[in-house]
Symmetry: D2
Subunit: 363 residues, 4 copies
């Protein structure tokens, strides 16, 4: 399959560049009979939208999505769902200066070597603008999951050097950082303000959790649930690491500590993050992702142009000083898409399986 | 696609359980004209083989591989390559006691809920025994890569709490731990001996590096090289985390620190780990993976049986006290498989691309 | 993969219903550097367009295509190409009468049983309107093929009971029937006029030929070139049969007659239709397809409604009395799409193959 | 995906050459809990086996299949099923004479140009020997279908110029031709005897029928049930044409004749062959396939060698004078494999669909 399609049964194919006419997606394989409207998608798109706080890019995009097919009389028909978002605020003249230059840590150099030609306006296809369609498609997946009692939510768990402990879900929707601790928001704001004064950027860590996941999802030995999650999350721009459950902390753990013991009342811990042998255990599915600092910063950097000559680059334009700030809805969308796909794959093979062993309570 | 096939163009499909008659793999899409013999595969298989040191399981398996097709007169024909390894040391009576029980941190509980039936002998399909075929297929991939000047190597970078800094490649092949620092081997041995006395297990971190990778590999926006690597590495038994380049350390880095600047003489650093925008940059491709501690330990643990009743479980049998010790050849195999697949995908689309910009020297 | 994506490397994903807001396609995997504009696609779209002669449906659709992505400064970038056609002449009130009825020989009954819900306006997704996007995508494929010296052309070889022998390519573009014999056109027109008076419809046979195909395309044992052609052509609305080369006539042939002998000057015949063992031979690739008579006719027919009650149905509206008349550009598009995909698949695996045996001249 | 894998959810990957050590297949995605033994597969393999009558090749192959994985305690586990058949009667010296020559109508010339190297012994991978694994895999599919009340059966409907009308299923299993009319068998035998004296070969037509298929199978607009059937049947060696229902006869039919009217008691005809709009209608699924005459005949033919020089070729060895004679079990297997895959795909998306409209009785 080509690289712009995600999924096996519930597939998402996207197209569109940062400064082209618009973004498209085709979501194929959605079960019929699900109530769906453009407003359902818009709610999630608005959470990702640029320009909503002073800590993100000031590019103004309505990100208004149109459903072109696959929905009739308010419900999905089982036919492919076509989505369209027109780009409105394109300002392509900002970018002509870097037409022949490769911005450090961007995809300019690699796209150039791969394809020979490159839409240099705003990063073209490699821009995070592409993730709008992931969020729109993810919103459809979330509606399918909701009908099965599955909920996917995320939050920022680290901003640069600042660790953020999870306190409550309510806080997440009440600040620009998706921060789960209302008492830390002021500190994050101060940190970001200083960062802007420093003309620098910083990374972030996002945590995503799915609750209500039934045991049984995942297709070993390759298409394990954790492997497909790692793929989907690592495919988000700027992501450099993915953990399931305790992740890299597992390295220093002992078996007696890491193993999640079971009793008739449920699991006693969730170091595994809800996956055993690549298959969901029924516990909350937990993933963490690391996002690198934004590459577009106004502090000059050394690079070369396409003739091999050295250049000094200052990336002007309107950029997020921390791409991680808007990454939470994207990460949620990716986890939701993986879960729907695996629900369907599991059901295809095992619909006739009857298990009498009780499902353990979630922890 | 079903879950036991890896890759898009260079595909590996595997089958086989821990205590069944044997393991099979079909490697499809291999370029023709590559010199290949069973001995080529055996060399890598022997590096993964159990029972070669006192720090790994004492199960004795010859892991002797037979090539059943796709090779004629010593070279690949372009037709699918069939591989067969017979299981010899199966000792299935060791496992009958746990027929109705779910070992904590194993896949017993999840396979039971997914499929309703379960080959309980030695973990069945969820056993790490399955990885033998990954190594055999990876050895074919490595031969294809070698013809393109690409080399994939790995080493242990952490054993439990012990960090291991990279010193030299030669050391890796000279000790049972794939440890890249000869001065640390004695310490690792002492640690493992103590662990066995504690009847416990521990995790490990593995680092894999590919050198000679040309710029241009990876198919954004979903099938990025880093995303597919994350998928392939996370699909290895016991892996809980994957990092590309600086990984989770990127979170606390600033943009001025993380971005790899370029000069006509080459990149000045490699925080990115050889991937920009999901496409290889020509720098060494670097990934780290976290393996959890072995789940099979002789210290009793609480669990339930398939009737929902509480049980105490001691996992007897012959187990690796640290599954990470034998994971290096497996991780190398997975990286090699991803690279070959992406070499072919890249070539399919971009064979006619001519770029005059010089490729920067590797760092 | 979901059902609305075609191809392995050069993929086409489509969406859109007959009377929805519009049609979409995403063409992924196209090589970069190909000159491409909306006009290139429009030329082929106009050949398929309804309402261009009195022998086809009088629905008026501009079928104006917009390229939303993947093309920059006049050439393809290697990124997915997004296509959009707005529906303009929808007249959905024509169809409300059959909301609860199943028209005989249409997909109403089967869509209803498959999905439970159904966009009944003009056949919804099952309408041949969907094929507009096949033609647009096919036009991109044809540009890629042209750069390799490959040309795909088709013609009508039978209209109802009237066999049409091939005379010349020029004639094909000069009449509404894609008839390759200018002396037969008047007869076809008279036949169609009588058919309209009879309030009936009729089938057709289309022949498609690709010239300039190099030997080597096709991926046995399943993804043979002929098998993938059969799939692609049979996926066109109303197609009931596909032949490669002599097709069903081969049944009564003897081996001495059917086998295409070779001399240093070339093949002596082409009964095989350009495929041997599922791989192109370098001869012209020849396929025939049978289209059934249009199901929408004004002569009443017996059927049931969704409550299981008997009804008499007259299909009003604007329909092609022979769907085969407009099928030639669609069949050409499908053959072109299969060929591009296989060119890329072949190149991926066998780019390094060097064969000194001369390629035989085409017949 | 690579070319040796069939299916989306119920996948079959095969490997093996005519004169190599053996044949392999991995069947992935099979539902768990299906009773399965090697004997189940053997029954179908024996129907395809060479050497069972004087009208087929005299090569002696036990075709004894071994199940290496995926079955435990007599039932499928949901894990991949590994199959192995060792080649026993290889006689490779028969073939060395044609090492550098291209037999007319064989795949020699095309494999040579595609891969550069070629296993010339008995046609290597392009030999019909490969179909043994299709039959074995198909037998698994048939067991899955049987549990759903679906039965797939086929028969010879034409031998060379001799049309054979269907009379009864019982006859099919009682003669070497799969002839459904006991009164025609003597005629077929006489025809074949004369053919052998003529040192020639002939084609055949096979008809395959599935009964008990529920409405709803098929994934438009590309992965229609008829399109996937066309692909699967055309992928069988020597097949040159595929028809669904009335096939090419539809061309000359009128709409009033072709359309299958419906009454509350059921469909009144089945010209469509059980598929409407690419989705099964609940009527019997009917396909016809045309097989060309065997290419291996002892009458000399003109060809070239790999140096481009003219040669005269006589194909010695043990060959079927009509490859169609043994094709019935293969065609049944392919139809069964397509049906199982589509049952699973349909179920994945539409498991929650509830339709109250009665399913019409089969005709």
């Amino acid at each position: 399959m080509s690289g712009n399609t995600l999924g096996t049964l519930f597939t998402v194919t996207t197209a569109g560049e940062s400064h082209g006419p618009g973004l498209m997606a085709i979501v194929d394989g959605c079960p019929p009979g699900i109530a769906l409207s453009a407003e359902d998608l818009q709610a999630d798109l608005d959470r990702r939208k640029p320009g909503t706080s002073r800590h993100t890019t000031q590019r103004q995009e309505a990100d208004q999505v149109e459903i072109l097919s696959g929905v009739f009389e308010g419900v999905t028909t089982g036919c492919p769902i076509g989505l369209l978002i027109r780009n409105t605020d394109q300002k392509s003249k900002d970018y002509s200066a870097i037409k022949d230059q490769f911005r450090p840590a961007h995809a300019d150099y690699t796209y150039h070597h791969k394809y020979g030609v490159r839409d240099y306006r705003g990063g073209g296809r490699s821009s995070a603008r592409e993730t709008a369609m992931r969020v729109a498609a993810g919103a459809i997946a979330r509606k399918v999951l909701a009908a099965q009692g599955i909920q996917v939510r995320g939050y920022m768990s680290q901003l640069g050097p600042l660790n953020i402990e999870f306190k409550q879900w309510q806080s997440v929707s009440e600040n620009a950082f998706f921060c789960p601790d209302p008492d830390r928001v002021a500190e994050l704001e101060a940190y970001m303000d200083q960062l802007r004064r420093d003309q620098d950027s910083v990374g972030a860590k996002i945590t995503v959790v799915a609750e209500g996941v039934p045991p049984g999802l995942g297709e070993p030995v390759f298409d394990r649930l954790d492997a497909e999650l790692a793929y989907a999350l690592m495919s988000i721009n700027a992501v450099k690491g993915v953990e399931i459950g305790d992740g890299f902390a597992s390295v220093a753990q002992r078996g007696t500590e890491h193993r999640d013991e079971m009793t008739p009342d449920g699991f006693l811990s969730n170091h595994a993050g809800g996956v055993l042998g690549g298959i969901s255990s029924g516990q909350p599915l937990i993933a963490h992702l690391a996002l690198k600092p934004t590459s577009s910063i106004t502090t000059p950097g050394r690079s070369i142009d396409r003739f091999g000559q050295p250049v000094d680059i200052i990336t002007k334009g309107r950029h997020d000083p921390c791409v991680g700030i808007r990454a939470t809805p994207i990460a949620e969308a990716m986890m939701a898409l993986v879960l729907v796909d695996h629900l369907m794959r599991h059901r295809a093979q095992n619909a006739d399986v009857r298990v009498t062993t009780p499902v353990l309570g979630q922890l």
